[in-house]
């Protein structure tokens, strides 16, 4: 159920990106374009995470942001050849990753996996990456520097992992974490991953440096927690297309994101309760070592709850 392959793809694109940015053969416009795209991608992700609690986010805004993410993802998919392949713990048999694996022959921008994103922040003059892309502003330093890593980034990366591949992402997570302050739990990331679909916003920000230090397998789970967060923060299901199919993972059981008749007609958020309960149980199943027990009483009520929801919101 874990989408390791998907996670690997996500990392790939980060990695390819960093590689491109520091590649000296790149023209400034390419560098800035990639940087801009990455920045927009990060901003978009954060926008989906970050909205006022208890209020329904604007569907229009969510759809537009989601389309933006889809578009960037589509571009990345087309540039799949640019992304280097690195070994991962599992090789899912999805066609997407296959195509990625076959593609590198067409590499036009050899990636330099050894380059660290921190270098990007320190060695790339802001102007260099800003001026060519007229869309990046010179009046917003925080925005411009956001793709650069916080100083603590290197320390977080565990030796076995390829350093650059997830830093930009982890920094995005850090930023997200800052945006949604919560008590940082030291539980295994698996818990974060499996709990997140429950709709608990505090759980959704559990991606923490500790989790990142635990190495690739855990990272995979960490990545897996993302779709759940999308699901929650946007209160809509359509994002799962993005997250399930492409960016994050490909082989996860998508049935948990399917709409049941009751929820699909009852609006965006009302499905959260029944669906997330399902999610919780399904995703918890492989991790029997994790505390499943507390959720067991929940299970008893599921069908009943479903029925009640159906009666209440079916229209």
């Amino acid at each position: 159920m874990l989408g390791k392959g998907g996670k690997r793809k996500f990392d790939e694109h980060e990695d390819g990106l960093e590689g491109k940015i520091v590649s000296p053969s790149d023209g400034p416009s390419k560098v800035s374009y990639t940087l801009q795209r990455q920045t927009i991608f990060n901003i978009s992700l954060m926008k989906l995470y970050n909205h006022r609690p208890l209020t329904e986010p604007s569907l229009q805004k969510t759809v537009l942001i989601n389309n933006m993410l889809r578009r960037i993802q589509e571009e990345l998919k087309q540039e799949g050849s640019l992304r280097p392949v690195f070994p991962t713990s599992s090789q899912p048999a999805d066609s997407l990753s296959d195509s990625y694996r076959e593609a590198p022959a067409a590499l036009s921008h050899p990636a330099s996996p050894s380059a660290h994103p921190c270098d990007l922040g320190s060695t790339t003059p802001l102007e260099a990456c800003l001026t060519p892309a007229s869309l990046l502003e010179d009046d917003d330093d925080t925005f411009c520097t956001s793709p650069a890593m916080p100083p603590a980034a290197p320390a977080r990366v565990s030796p076995p992992a390829l350093p650059p591949e997830k830093d930009s992402f982890s920094s995005a997570l850090d930023e997200i974490e800052e945006l949604c302050p919560t008590s940082t739990s030291t539980e295994a990331t698996t818990v974060a991953a499996t709990d997140s679909p429950k709709g608990d916003s505090s759980e959704s920000s559990l991606q923490k440096p500790e989790g990142l230090q635990e190495g690739r397998p855990d990272d995979a789970k960490l990545m897996d927690s993302l779709p759940g967060n999308f699901e929650i923060t946007t209160s809509t299901g359509f994002l799962t297309d993005l997250t399930l199919d492409d960016i994050l993972f490909a082989d996860i059981d998508t049935s948990m994101y399917d709409f049941d008749p009751c929820t699909s007609t009852s609006g965006t958020a009302s499905k959260m309760a029944p669906v997330s309960a399902d999610d919780l149980l399904k995703t918890l199943a492989p991790y029997s070592s994790q505390p499943v027990a507390p959720s067991q009483p929940f299970k008893m009520d599921l069908t009943e709850l479903d029925h009640i929801m159906e009666v209440l919101v079916g229209s």
Binding site: K61, M68, I72, E137, T240, D241, T268, A269
Partner: protein, 433 residues
Amino acid sequence: MPSHRMPSEADIISTVEFNHTGELLATGDKGGRVVIFQREPESKNAPHSQGEYDVYSTFQSHEPEFDYLKSLEIEEKINKIKWLPQQNAAHSLLSTNDKTIKLWKITERDKRPEGYNLKDEEGKLKDLSTVTSLQVPVLKPMDLMVEVSPRRVFANGHTYHINSISVNSDCETYMSADDLRINLWHLAITDRSFNIVDIKPANMEDLTEVITASEFHPHHCNLFVYSSSKGSLRLCDMRAAALCDKHSKLFEEPEDPSNRSFFSEIISSVSDVKFSHSGRYMLTRDYLTVKVWDLNMEARPIETYQVHDYLRSKLCSLYENDCIFDKFECAWNGSDSVIMTGAYNNFFRMFDRNTKRDVTLEASRESSKPRAVLKPRRVCVGGKRRRDDISVDSLDFTKKILHTAWHPAENIIAIAATNNLYIFQDKVNSEMH
């Protein structure tokens, strides 16, 4: 009418609407209140000046609610107000928040009956033994009282957020549009509405487009238009089918490849659509432009005006700070020859369709004294900066003019600038606030 309190979130004006004669002007705010202004009769002392608009009535239209099923707050913010054509002495308007539309009746009372035979002034029954003669009750003048009463509540019709309401020219029905559906209501029936557009995909994962605004044709009660977040307009004919999922006409402009960017789709999202008074044209606002469409030409707009093209290089920042999602409205003047729309920094723009001249004006308390003449403002982009020019970098993006309204016949405009309402009139270049 700038308020002199510290502006609070609830005071932010969220909609402005003249009635059909222009005698009344209604505003709604984020606090769920509706304030109605009435134009005073022309003053004898200053015959050159048209009557000013004074507060006529204020009432709480919507209250904050909580959706316990979804655990979500339903804001009281008034999204739209629409006046009904006046049928009798009373005025009626529709107001809506995200979910619920309400019909309000506004009546005046300036006389009260006196001298009943069986009741005293308080309405209590008199002791019949004291009634010795019969009298005819008379109406005595009293201080004008404006009474606002809720007449209908149209609830439970929308799953998503209502962005538009529009009263049909048949004066019997109206429609309400949310992100994915448009409903048709009869003004007298609250427990039933007909779904006339539904763009919700079977699977929400396939959702890439939402409805952003919608309006009935001013003369043909069977026609309406709705705009989308992808920049298109769909004209629908209710005679064609009960469910207008298939549009009659699709108005869409091909994307200009030279301006392609990550933000192309977001800035092409239509934030407002308005039929011209003649019914021949449609006016749309997207993030950077206003466009005039001819109902007879679907391929492209007949006119495109740049509202603040200097922001094109700032889109990334505007995306980051969410300004790019601001929903600017647009308005026609009474003769459809001038269009108006808002911008940032308390600026608003007017475009003369005949002379192709445009002007940037500012609505601010500092720069506008009563009856002062508005000075055109200019935003400078490059280095050549003239006196009084303002540079793009010093624009205040928190001061945005989203809501504007134009008097149906005269050159009087109402501008909502956050918590202030400015009313400007052209007649003798006089201005007031």
